[in-house]
Amino acid sequence: MLLTFYILGTVSVLSALGVLVCRSPVYSAMSLVCSFFCLGGIYILMNVEFVAVIQILVYAGAILVLFLFVIMLLNIVPTGESVRFNLPVLIAFGIAVGLFAQISGLFLGDIQFGPKDVYTAEAISEEGSIGLIGRLLYGEFVLPFEAISILLLVAVIGAVIIGKRRLN
């Protein structure tokens, strides 16, 4: 199981790097799909099946298809965008490596976790993770749930209005 995690993690990091390296945005999108699928596998290994399913359905299925549609609509020719190792690029690499070192150093130190909640792996498997999420979503978190539905509605209307050619 640990070996599977390492393989999936390595593939997801490599395909995330592929997003940056590929010249054509279509290849970048495909590489991103690969990374999302690996993350979905990791979620299954960590016993959060609901997250794995919506990761693959919503991210890889809906959002990435939207990206591919836009790329197709724009009819992009791959530009000769090449990365030269000049000073700003080196600074960008430095910032990214520094950020990674900072965050992972923070995680490798002793993290003080707060008090534990009641949802252990046994408690989750007793009720079923999806049932538990549904109960929490419509119980404790019902107000954020309604707010997020309004946000989604606003985003849909906004996208239609921005996408229209002319407003009158």
């Binding site: 990091v13 995330a16 997003v19 945005p25 991103l32 690029v89 996208a159 239609v160």
Partner: protein, 100 residues
């Protein structure tokens, strides 16, 4: 049992790659994909922390993050489409209308 530290380090690596993509690439769609990558890295660390603390709140938060990511992708891509109609380019360096 996967150690939580390894999950968190994987999420840190994915987040740093996303940051690097935003800084390095000039194609606006690839920059957008890097932002999605960063949101995914945050989701992974949410799952790691939720499992470590026996909590369900992290999973609920992932639900909300994915909805926000979908809304952001829809609005952002329609903005990209309308900018492309006006300027015929995807290079962010040429989007300088608001530049001073």
């Amino acid at each position: 049992m996967i150690p939580t530290t390894h999950v968190l380090i994987l999420s840190a690596a994915l987040f740093s790659i996303g940051v690097l993509g935003v800084m390095l690439r000039r194609n606006v769609i690839v920059i957008f994909m890097s932002i999605e990558l960063m949101l995914n890295a945050v989701n992974l660390s949410f799952v790691g922390f939720a499992r470590e603390m026996d909590s369900m709140t992290g999973v609920i938060f992932i639900f909300f993050i994915i909805v926000v990511a979908a809304a952001e992708a829809v609005v952002g891509l329609s903005i990209i489409l309308s900018i492309y109609r006006n300027r015929q380019t995807l290079n962010v360096d040429e989007y300088n209308l608001l530049k001073w």
